[in-house]
């Protein structure tokens, strides 16, 4: 992309110091050309979103300049940026759910002063240009994430955007939708639209980007163009993390006694259909049992039955010889639980310390909550688990996803347990944090705890588990020992044959 003399957008020496003194960006240079897909790669908290929010006018840089078409600009807010042709597509989208697609587009385009007829014409042109099919009368709430994203892109382009900032665009998409997005990005490039692609996913960078700028702790550590040496996942991972994370693996030591016993378990789903059909297994102290399988084959109901949240139709669950009939039984027997959905375990408006205390005291009969105890819980999260948060009273909702996961995982680990049931424990975490959580799980097992790991990440299951059970249509299709569990053999079992 070197043929063009002048970049569409250029940022020079951008510094951002937040009011609390955190230096998020430290002299960053960044530019994008027309028809270029420029990936902005970095871990959570590396400053990539901050940099783009500055470009988009949402926040102001402490120092540094922005040039658009070679002219220096200074935004008062996002609308200055939008009028100059810079648009942002947020991770969680900014569409009004109760309105239809067309109504959403109309709200946006009327803000740009376009009359209804003109707005409609522009939308039609963009949709036709990109060869998209968009159901204008569909309520946004009925659309899958991939379709919402297309609406966002149509919205931006019919508003005259020449530069699209995509913030972690695949985080809510299915793999199929992601492929559709990559194709669409290809078309945008042909039309001469510039794209900034914010991500921490290496595979996507290699797949779509023409150029990548790697940020680490607020500084640019590398700029790599497609075709040049180092434009591959391994090299970029090293640049992004600073070191290549070492895979952890379970220690092979003698196993302890039986901790979790699941016997002939039948569980019904919300709709009343039987989702778990006669599952039997045990997990011993010091052992990690992985459960692999395509999501929706009864894993969710199995987990809920194990922690006592869902009463089985038949069969039973025992933790250290005690029958589990309610979550209280599970926790009092020494169980710990990391749910797959953070939102189910954390109260977003409560503080970090309160959330940690809530988890920490799960099985406790303590009556009073001492402020000093709250503070020490928080300190420990920061020291031992690398939590980055303003303070004990910061609401959890203001933390990044990775840090929320640290609160959740950290509090469970501080509490101590004899059995850990973890569902997708590293989902949405950056590389370093995910490696950290995996190491914790391995260490817990080597201290003698039993671990049941349910993960849709096959690599994770293979890396951590002593044995892997494959679930298919509510049954255990097979159990493979470490060593005989290869992705191929697991794949056959998952298929249900």
């Amino acid at each position: 992309m070197a043929a063009e003399p002048r970049p569409l957008v250029e940022m020079r020496g951008i510094v951002k110091v937040y009011p609390d003194g955190v230096k998020a960006l430290d002299g960053v240079d960044f530019d994008v050309y027309r028809g270029e897909v420029h990936a902005l790669l970095g871990e959570n908290g590396a400053g990539k979103t901050t940099l783009m929010r500055i470009l988009y006018g949402e926040i102001r840089a402490t120092s540094g300049v922005i040039l658009v078409d070679g002219r220096r600009v200074s935004w008062r807010g996002p609308w200055d940026a939008i009028r100059s042709g810079i648009a942002m597509v947020y991770q969680n989208f900014r569409l009004v759910e109760g309105l239809t697609v067309e109504e959403n587009l109309l709200v946006y385009l009327s803000s740009l002063g376009l009359p209804r007829a003109e707005a409609r014409r522009r939308v039609e042109r963009v949709v036709e240009d990109l060869g998209l099919s968009v159901d204008m009368d569909a309520p946004v709430e009925k659309l899958p994430p991939g379709a919402r994203q297309r609406v966002e892109i149509v919205k931006a382009l019919s508003g005259g955007a020449r530069l699209l900032i995509l913030d972690e665009p695949t985080s809510n998409l299915t793999p199929l939708e992601a492929r559709g997005l990559f194709k669409l990005i290809g078309k945008l490039r042909e039309k001469g639209v510039a794209v900034v692609y914010i991500t921490h996913k290496l595979r996507e960078v290699v797949e779509v980007a023409d150029r990548v700028t790697v940020l680490r702790r607020g500084k640019v550590v590398a700029r790599v163009s497609r075709g040049s040496e180092g434009f591959n996942e391994e090299r970029l991972a090293a640049l992004m993390v600073g070191e290549v994370p070492r895979p952890s693996s379970p220690a092979s030591r003698p196993l302890g006694g039986e901790v979790l016993a699941v016997k002939d378990l039948y569980v019904a789903g919300d709709d009343g259909s039987v989702r778990v059909k006669g599952v039997t297994f045990t997990v011993r102290g010091g052992e990690v049992l992985g459960i692999a399988g395509v999501a929706g084959n009864g894993q969710e109901e199995l987990v809920e039955a194990i922690i006592g949240l869902r009463a089985p139709l038949r069969g039973y669950v025992e933790v250290l010889g005690r029958r589990v009939r309610s979550p209280r039984d599970f926790y009092e027997a020494g169980g710990a639980f990391i749910p797959g959905d953070r939102a189910k375990a954390l109260s977003p408006e409560l503080s970090v310390a309160e959330n940690a205390a809530f988890i920490y005291y799960t099985a406790s009969r303590a009556l009073l909550l001492r402020p000093s105890r709250l503070a020490s819980l928080f300190d420990k999260l920061v020291r031992s688990f690398g939590l980055k948060a303003g303070g004990p009273s910061t609401p959890v909702s203001s933390l990044s996803g990775g840090n929320q996961q640290k609160v959740l995982v950290g509090a469970e680990f501080m509490r101590g347990f004899k059995l850990l049931v973890a569902v997708n424990p590293t989902q949405g975490l950056d590389v370093a944090t995910a490696a950290f959580v995996r190491r914790l799980i391995v260490e817990a097992a080597s201290r003698g705890s039993a671990v049941l790991l349910i993960s849709s990440d096959l690599d994770e299951v293979l890396e951590l588990s002593h044995r892997v059970a494959v679930m298919s249509s509510g049954r255990i299709a097979g159990v493979l020992a470490r060593g005989e569990a290869t992705p191929e053999r697991l794949g056959v079992l998952m298929g249900g044959s």
Binding site: R94, L95, V96, E97, G98, L99, V107, Y108, S110, S111
Partner: protein
């Protein structure tokens, strides 16, 4: 037969007279709730405006029209106050509304005593004369106007871009703001409109319908309007029908009381319009009408 016919006419005219305050307040509140601001202080605003317009009429020497203007203006100001507290100070909308109701109940009684030396009511006066609609039947001009208000609100909400932008605020203020809508301004204006309509409704009750201010003369109509808002599925046209339904029940109750002349039954009969309206609300609300998503929650920007 002719007697029944004239009875029916009486009930119909009475119904159209009693529907006005509910309809006006409902239409205003629908616009406000569509923008995301709920005002359960409608009752209080109505009561204060009913009182203030009588004061303007009896003491200030205002005409009927000016009395209406006083009531409407006071309603507008109170609505804007509620809006400002909700939108800019991020106050709890329910608490503000309750505050308005309690203040209105106390203040109007005290004010009545201060001016006229009795806690119960102002001196009576000749209510505003009606206009002829059909065959010599006279109704208040507010009857056709309140129906027109419902139609106009519907056209505004569903047939104008500004109405669309307003609805976006009540559904998802964060996205609306990101799409360039000045959410605070829309919500404030909508809350002011709800206040204005409740104010006119209050003035109607005292100056136009009854020709007196009486203690607690709104008698829960503000709350029935709130129920009517939900019952209508936040649709102003349905709300007009809902207002008329309440009006019919109330007119029937009044006629029945006059016919029976039974003191003991009166309280029960007087309660039926409220009960009947609530029953209808409950039955209809099951049909899956959906409230604006962000209704009643303050929108706090990051």
């Amino acid at each position: 037969m002719p007697e029944i016919l004239s009875d029916l006419t009486t009930v119909a005219v009475l119904a159209s007279a009693t529907m006005v305050p509910i309809t006006l307040a409902s239409v205003g509140e629908i616009v406000s709730e569509r923008a995301g601001v709920v005002n359960i202080g409608l009752e209080g605003i109505m009561l204060l405006s009913a009182w203030a317009s009588v004061v303007a009429f009896l003491i200030g020497g205002a005409g009927y029209l000016e009395a209406y203007m006083v009531g409407g203006l006071l309603g507008l100001l109170l609505g804007l106050l509620h809006g400002a507290i909700s939108v800019y100070l991020k106050g709890d909308q329910i608490v503000t509304g309750i505050g308005l109701n309690i203040f209105a109940a106390g203040f109007t009684v005290l004010g009545t005593y201060a001016l006229w030396g009795t806690f119960s009511n102002s001196p009576s006066f000749q209510p505003m004369p009606g206009i002829a609609v059909v065959a010599g039947v006279k109704v208040s001009p507010l009857v056709p106007l309140s129906i027109a208000a419902g139609v106009a609100a519907w056209l505004f909400l569903y047939r104008t871009v500004t109405g669309l932008r307003l609805r976006a605020c009540g559904e998802d203020p964060r996205s609306a703001e990101a799409m360039g809508v000045n959410v605070g301004l829309y919500q404030l204006a909508a809350a002011g409109f709800a206040g204005l309509m409740a104010g006119i409704a209050g003035a109607y009750l005292s100056v136009d319908y009854q020709g007196v201010f009486a203690k607690n003369m709104t008698a829960g109509r503000g709350f029935i309007a709130l129920a009517n808002v939900a019952f209508s599925g936040w649709n102003p046209l349905v709300a007009v029908a809902g207002g008329y339904l309440f009006g019919l029940f109330q007119a029937a109750a009044i006629s029945l009381n006059i016919a029976l002349q039974e003191e003991a039954a009166a309280s029960l009969i007087n309660a039926t319009p409220y009960l009947a309206t609530l029953v209808v609300v409950v039955l209809v609300a099951r049909r899956g009408f959906r409230a604006p998503r962000w209704l009643g929650r303050p929108f706090v920007k990051e």
